[in-house]
């Protein structure tokens, strides 16, 4: 089962290696990982998408909490949240397929950020499922390159997690 976990960590030397080393050392799977600073100078927020059953998820949460560098672990499994990801997709677009490509971009409310006679580069943000759907539609035209950021997640409702 797929799980998304946000971890607030001290923004210090080696912390990314520490977290990813924890996952690899214990055989936990990292599907995607996204990290950036927060409002507070010394705190970074990591969003990790992992998979496993309940027992593995419990161990992941506990092991993350155990790390000295970890300030807070937020497990979004079963919680109400907003999940968004960014993707840049370079797709072949020549003659007949050019119009179809633009129609698909319009339907998904994505944007074209680069144009050449033979290609478009498309920028899309949305839930991972929406990005997957766009990719499926573009695949027959010939996708040259995809860059995905991995999802970031925020809880719904008025409460904010500081950091």
């Amino acid at each position: 089962m797929r799980h998304t976990i946000s971890v607030l960590v001290e923004n210090e030397f080696g912390v990314l290696a520490r977290i990813s080393g924890l996952f690899s050392g214990r055989g936990f799977n990292i599907e995607s990982l996204c990290v950036a600073p927060t409002m507070e100078q010394n705190i970074s927020r990591m969003t990790i998408v992992t998979s496993g059953d309940d027992r593995i998820l419990e161990q992941i949460n506990k092991q993350l909490n155990k790390l000295i560098s970890t300030i807070k672990v937020i497990d979004f499994t079963g919680e109400d949240f907003v999940e968004r990801e960014l993707a840049l997709i370079k797709v072949t677009a020549e003659a007949e397929s050019r119009a179809e490509a633009l129609r698909i971009v319009d339907i998904f409310r994505a944007k074209v950020v680069d144009v050449t006679p033979k290609s478009y580069t498309i920028e899309i943000t949305g839930a991972p499922a929406k990005i997957n759907a766009l990719l499926e539609l573009l695949r027959p035209m010939g996708i040259k390159e995809i860059v995905r950021s991995g999802p970031v997640v925020i809880g719904r409702g008025p409460k904010g997690v500081a950091g």
Binding site: E10, F13, G14, G21, Q59, K62, I68, I71
Partner: protein, 565 residues
């Protein structure tokens, strides 16, 4: 007042109560060693950095203090890794300070540079690279706090050479506040109440006690709880000296080489109270058959150990001293109920007594050949109760756990989690440094001894009267046993038949060497060694193909023991 980084380091160590460090100099730490030259801090020079770490580890295990190591960069640092991993697996508080190349050279493949922070990230509780001299004092305070608090563990500080000579004002912080690290010491009182209730309902309870007992120094609380409720106690390898093995409630070790009655008790119990233990695979055997009939209470300071391997009915996170004390008091408030518990569990204790009677720990005695178990029993007979025993790893280690009747806390130092050959001799060294007046004996095998035999020099230099007992069977015994039982006696690379003159080796370093090859020489050699001042190496030529029994083969349940080979 401005001090150099090296001076700040030594002053901070003093403020942390450190009076002894173990280490080995080198280019990247030469400034620290210059300051050590006339410091009040004592330095024990090992002959290999791995041994320096094991020595600090042995020192920490028997005193409860944080062991401190200083090593140089590059190969000095990488030599510490096995020692650090050993301490990490057994949760021993250490602070290891490694020199590092100057900051501008880091990442440049400089001479004697190693990314020791990267290398030890998975085997330290935490590590630090000092990047600014103004962080040094605070980092040292944090390192000691992290090492000794919660579930203890080794902490490494990598200190670049330029920071060692840089100057800064020295201000040792009053307090430490790490927002990501707040261990729980006080057990939840509702959980403790529930535990008391479960206890009183049990008919076949067992206390399963692990190394956490030593780390929390909760021996008294454990003894009081066991005696109040008359509950049998089984101890893991790490806890063998935490509960007096001559106590009538003692079941001995459980698990792969545990006693018959300990393994049967755990298999048949209806309440398993796990105290500072982590359900390691050497203990559980086949995990889906482990303590099948029992409700499980798991008391541990580390939440990650709870529910990691085994389903737990009642978890209690907290310091053992605190939780066991409160649990005892809660039960002591209900004397009538406790009396009912004791009466209701009489049949259980009788069954256990039957198991003990019908399947005692046993080995085939001999008049003609020295049995290794016999040597261990003799050492017990001839040493004081407060003698500190260290072991290396292998058959002799298991026999020591099985046949040496430990009676006092912190008298058994052994590498359990990592199982590091070469641990015993330097650990004995560290223990003797901590307690110069006590008897310290390293029980070793011929294979293990050669992993850190160079430390004979350290023993002689500091006049540490450690007595080393090599149970020489000219084999890598434990592996040979597996090859006999599972690989048709194909003794691949386990015959250590080269006849080493261990006495000459000991004397080459300036120690005393003794040998026993006949049964009636054993007692004489041990007595002579104990009366001889200074370090003594005793070689016992023991039966070659003796096996450690009982044995739970890999993949079997712990009640499926092999009792005879």
């Amino acid at each position: 007042m401005e001090l150099t980084g090296s001076q700040i380091l030594l002053e901070s160590l003093k403020l942390e109560g450190v009076d002894t460090v173990f280490g080995y100099p080198g280019g990247a730490v030469i400034n620290i060693y210059d300051d050590l030259f006339d410091s009040s801090i004592a330095h024990v020079l090992a002959r290999h950095e791995q041994a320096a770490v094991h020595a600090a580890d042995g020192y920490a295990r028997c005193t409860g203090k944080v062991g401190v190591v200083i090593a140089t960069s590059g190969p000095g640092a990488t030599n510490t890794v096995t020692g650090i991993a050993t301490a990490y697996m057994d949760s021993i508080p250490l602070v290891i300070i490694t020199g590092q190349v100057p900051t501008p050279l880091i990442g440049n493949d400089a001479f004697q540079e190693a990314d020791i922070c990267g290398i030890t990230r998975p085997c330290t509780k935490h590590n630090f690279l000092i990047q600014d001299i103004r962080d040094l004092a605070r980092t040292l305070k944090e390192a000691f706090f992290i090492a000794r608090s919660g579930r203890p563990g080794p902490v490494l500080i990598d200190l670049p050479k330029d920071i060692q000579v840089a100057k800064s004002k020295f201000n040792y912080p009053e307090k430490v506040d790490i927002r990501g690290y707040k261990p729980t010491y006080s057990g939840n009182s509702r959980q403790i109440d529930k535990a008391a209730k479960l206890f009183l309902e049990a008919r076949q309870p067992v206390l399963y006690v692990g190394g956490g007992i030593n780390l929390s120094a909760a021996n008294e609380e454990l003894l009081k709880l066991a005696e109040l409720t008359r509950t049998p106690v089984t101890t893991t390898l790490m806890a063998m000296s935490a509960f007096p093995q001559n106590h009538e409630l003692a079941l001995g070790m459980l698990g792969m080489h545990g006693t018959f009655y300990a393994n049967m008790s755990v298999t048949e119990c209806d309440l398993l109270i796990a105290v500072g233990a982590r359900f390691d695979d050497r203990v559980t055997g086949r995990i889906d058959s482990f303590a099948k009939r029992a409700k499980v209470i798991h008391i541990d300071i580390d939440p990650t150990s709870i529910r990691k391997n085994v389903a737990v009915d009642l978890p209690i996170v907290g310091d053992l001293k605190d939780v066991l004390g409160k649990l005892h008091d809660k039960l002591a408030e209900q004397p009538a109920e406790v009396q009912k518990l004791i009466e209701g569990t009489t049949g259980w204790r009788d069954s256990i007594a039957d198991w003990k009677q019908n399947h005692p720990m046993f080995y085939q005695p001999s008049e003609s050949i020295i049995k290794p178990q016999f040597v261990i029993e003799k050492i017990r007979e001839l040493t004081r109760d407060d003698a500190i025993i260290t072991t290396e790893v292998g058959q002799h280690q298991m026999w020591t756990a099985q046949f040496f009747e430990f009676r006092r806390p912190r008298t058994f130092l052994t590498s359990g989690g990592l199982g590091t050959m070469g641990f015993g001799l330097p650990a004995a060294l560290g223990a003797q440094v901590a307690f110069p007046e006590r008897q310290v004996i390293d029980i070793s095998g011929d294979g293990s001894f050669q992993m850190n035999s160079q430390e004979l020099a350290t023993l002689v230099q500091y006049r540490l009267p450690v007595k080393i007992a090599i149970l020489n069977n000219n084999f890598l015994g434990m592996v040979r046993q597996w090859q006999q039982m599972f690989f048709n006696k194909r003794y691949s690379q386990t015959c250590l038949e080269l006849p080493i003159d261990f006495i000459k080796l000991a004397e080459a370093y300036g120690a005393t060497g003794l040998q026993a090859s006949k049964v009636d020489e054993v007692e004489k050699v041990i007595s002579q060694a104990l009366e001889t001042p200074g370090p003594v190496l005793m070689e016992f030529k023991v039966a070659r193909e003796e096996n450690v029994l009982p044995m739970v083969p890999a993949g079997k349940a712990i009640h499926e023991m092999v009792l005879a080979s």
